[in-house]
């Protein structure tokens, strides 16, 4: 028999972990002399009560959906892809090349091209660690960490030595052509009378992220490949017995993971800054880990967790603007969520399992 109902596993445990993280964060806010409740209200006001706030929240959420899905797909194959950050950086390079060097007639075509470029570059950056894991047994966590740093060096090299416009001191590309400008939420949803999402960076890429969530769900739970990925994740020896090639699954799932991480750069590079800058990923690759853990590696969970972290990010920015609480508070919350949902999972789980066991005994008696 299961120790506790399925819903407790996928809903209750993440919520309790989130609650613990929230309490600790509140204590931190209290310790630096601010009022946690006021801070929370400020975050809600800034992130959710105005359309422009939502515009930021959903912009961040778009990034986190991509990186969260990237981590989740790898998790299903029992791999910890800690390299989303590097894969996203390379994805940005792909976007930049596609946008700068191909004369696009219309943004929709540019979007398709840039998405392909981002996915390809991201996937390529995941390919080497995947291959080394599959063929040479090199631990993928360590190689992807190393590849994050190598990606940073590669990006730095390209921006400083190759793509930087002459006479510019800024390690960034020149601004992308106008034809590659993606419709922002403001462009899409404003009417003549009311301007919605004023100044917010959310753009059409959000819908690509939504589509990615749906596609990943189909991939994992409805296709042969998904069946094989999950089987391999649960038991490598079982997969071998069934004729599922570990090398193939390792490489394919990391390619998908890397492609998803790379896609995030369409949102930041093409959708927001409209040029490639050095730090466009802003740690979103790591937030993807928190999102995937919180969302229990399920696309719908990832969607919800991404919105939550989008809210935290935008709310955190508001806090930094209006109070003495620096933006780094979000990093702390994010760390606590990873700690509780990932590493200290058993701390939350064990007492809960005991509780459910006791409840069942009572019910039986």
């Amino acid at each position: 028999m299961e120790k506790m109902p399925h819903w407790a596993d996928i809903v209750l445990i993440p919520l309790i972990s989130l609650f613990l993280a929230a309490i600790l964060s509140a204590l931190v806010i209290l310790a630096i002399g601010e009022n946690p409740w006021a801070a929370f209200k400020l975050m809600v006001d800034g992130a959710l009560m105005r359309s422009s706030g939502w515009g930021y929240t959903l912009y961040y959420a778009t990034n986190f959906m991509f990186t969260g899905l990237a981590v989740a797909v790898a998790f299903h194959a029992r791999m910890f892809n800690i390299g989303g950050e590097g894969q996203a950086m390379l994805g940005g390079l792909g976007v930049a090349y596609v946008c700068l060097f191909i004369p696009w007639p219309h943004w929709s075509l540019a979007l398709i091209g840039a998405s392909l470029g981002a996915a390809m570059f991201g996937a390529l950056w995941a390919l080497i660690p995947a291959y080394l894991q599959a063929k040479r047994g090199s631990h993928i966590v360590i190689t992807t960490i190393m590849f994050n740093f190598i990606a940073a060096a590669v990006l730095n090299y390209f921006l400083v030595n190759v793509l930087r416009p002459p006479r510019s001191m800024d390690p960034a590309t020149k601004t992308f052509p106008d034809a590659t400008h993606l419709p922002s939420f403001r462009d899409m949803f404003s009417t003549a009378e009311t301007i919605m999402f004023r100044g917010a960076p959310a753009n059409v890429t959000f819908f690509i992220a939504l589509a990615a969530c749906v596609l990943v769900w189909f991939l994992i739970w409805r296709t042969k490949l998904g069946y094989e990925i999950r089987a391999f994740g649960h038991s490598e020896s079982g997969a071998k017995y069934a004729g599922i090639s570990p090398v193939r699954i390792t490489v394919i799932s990391m390619l998908i993971s890397g492609a998803l991480a790379g896609l995030m750069s369409v949102n930041t590079t093409m959708g927001e800054s409209e040029r490639l800058v050095l730090n466009s990923t802003e740690g979103a690759g790591f937030i993807g880990i928190a999102v995937a853990l919180m969302g229990r590696s399920h696309p719908f969970g990832v969607f919800l967790a991404a919105i939550l972290f989008g809210f935290l990010y935008q709310g955190g920015a508001e806090l930094a603007l209006w109070t003495n609480i620096p933006r780094e508070l979000i990093v702390v919350i994010q760390a606590l969520v990873i700690l509780f949902t990932g590493a200290l999972d058993n701390m939350v789980r064990m007492p809960l399992e005991k509780l459910f066991l006791a409840l069942r005994k009572k019910g039986d008696a």
């Binding site: 800690i82 190393m146 190598i150 090299y157 780094e328 760390a335 700690l339």
Partner: protein, 322 residues
């Protein structure tokens, strides 16, 4: 390149290798006991901030050091709790601790000093001063050895000498003492230790705590010796380079020394890219030097140059079998 420039380059190498060496040895104790630690970076960062903050406010670098080691131990405790007591995922725990340190240091720094996440400059007794070894100045005139002694060997803060002394000490502890035998055994096959009546949990906590102390020293060195104060994210990936060095060193103390010196040299050359050009006549991009430790580690991990076999029980929580 003249002799003096070479000495200066090596001197910089030693100074930059020291935090790597301390962190690498820290990781060595932990991973030899079977606890993976990708949170070296976070512990160093937290220690750097607290040592700088306490050194600044008390005016004593030693109290600063104590505070740095203290906070590093707290983070080690969390890592132990997650990976030993609650048998969680060690990699995720290490990552979370690094993030926690990254956020908390800035948060607290801003609250305490209001200088945008940094501490004020440390001066005087709030810093580790270079130690001039006996006769360094008087022997300066001796050809070759004089400058070598004066420039390279003498004139470092105490933590540098401690770090280098820790290499033979670590070797001795691991391979010549009862504690070392048990530590290595618990990283290879914890069941062997458990059935011999020795506590697996106790040994692993001890290893994790030693790791904490050494990370504390590394962080304190960064903020109070190498530099004069804390700035945001000042570890700049050193924890991960140390991790890379540990793999490069195949989890052995002497190899760790050579690996960290090599990676320290890369960092020193990054500061003086002109030197490479003058010596080998090719302009090497600084990014290449920066990425070199990581690339080398991947090559080692891929097993193209000798296979790095980690401790066999590494990363696996110990569960008694029925």
């Amino acid at each position: 390149m003249d002799f003096l420039t070479l000495l200066q380059l090596l001197d910089t190498t030693v100074r930059l290798a020291t935090p790597l060496l301390l962190a690498c040895l820290a990781g060595l104790y932990s991973e030899r006991a079977g606890i993976f630690d990708i949170g070296l970076e976070g512990k160093m960062l937290a220690a750097a901030f607290f040592s700088a903050a306490f050194a600044y406010s008390t005016g004593s670098v030693w109290l600063g050091l104590l505070a740095g080691v203290g906070v590093s131990l707290v983070l080690s405790g969390i890592h132990g709790l997650a990976s030993i007591t609650f048998r969680g995922n060690q990699l995720i725990s290490g990552l979370a601790i690094t993030m926690l340190a990254g956020g908390m240091t800035v948060l607290i720094a801003q609250d305490w000093f209001k200088q945008g996440g940094r501490t004020p400059q440390l001066v005087g007794a709030a810093r580790f001063e270079p130690i001039t070894l006996p006769f360094a100045e008087s022997l300066q005139g001796v050809p070759f050895f004089g400058p070598l002694y004066y420039e390279l060997i003498s004139g470092h803060p105490i933590l540098v000498y401690i770090a280098f002394a820790l290499v033979p000490i670590t070797w001795w502890v691991l391979f010549r003492t009862r504690f070392g035998l048990r530590l290595r055994a618990v990283g290879e096959n914890p069941a062997s230790v458990d059935t011999a009546g020795v506590s697996v949990v106790g040994l692993r906590y001890a290893a994790v705590m030693i790791c904490g102390v050494l990370c504390g020293l590394a962080g304190a060195y960064l903020a109070t010796a190498l530099q004069a104060g804390f700035v945001k994210d000042m570890t700049a990936g050193r924890g991960y380079i140390a991790l890379a060095a540990l793999i490069f060193a195949k989890w052995r103390p002497w190899y760790a020394l050579w690996a960290t010196l090599l990676f320290g040299l890369f960092q020193a050359l990054e500061l003086r890219p002109d030197l490479i050009e003058t010596v080998i006549g090719i302009k090497v991009q600084v990014q290449v030097l920066g990425a070199l430790p990581y690339v080398l580690t991947v090559v080692i991990l891929a097993g193209f140059v000798g296979k790095a076999i980690p401790p066999r029980a590494g990363g696996e929580p110990y569960v008694k079998e029925r």
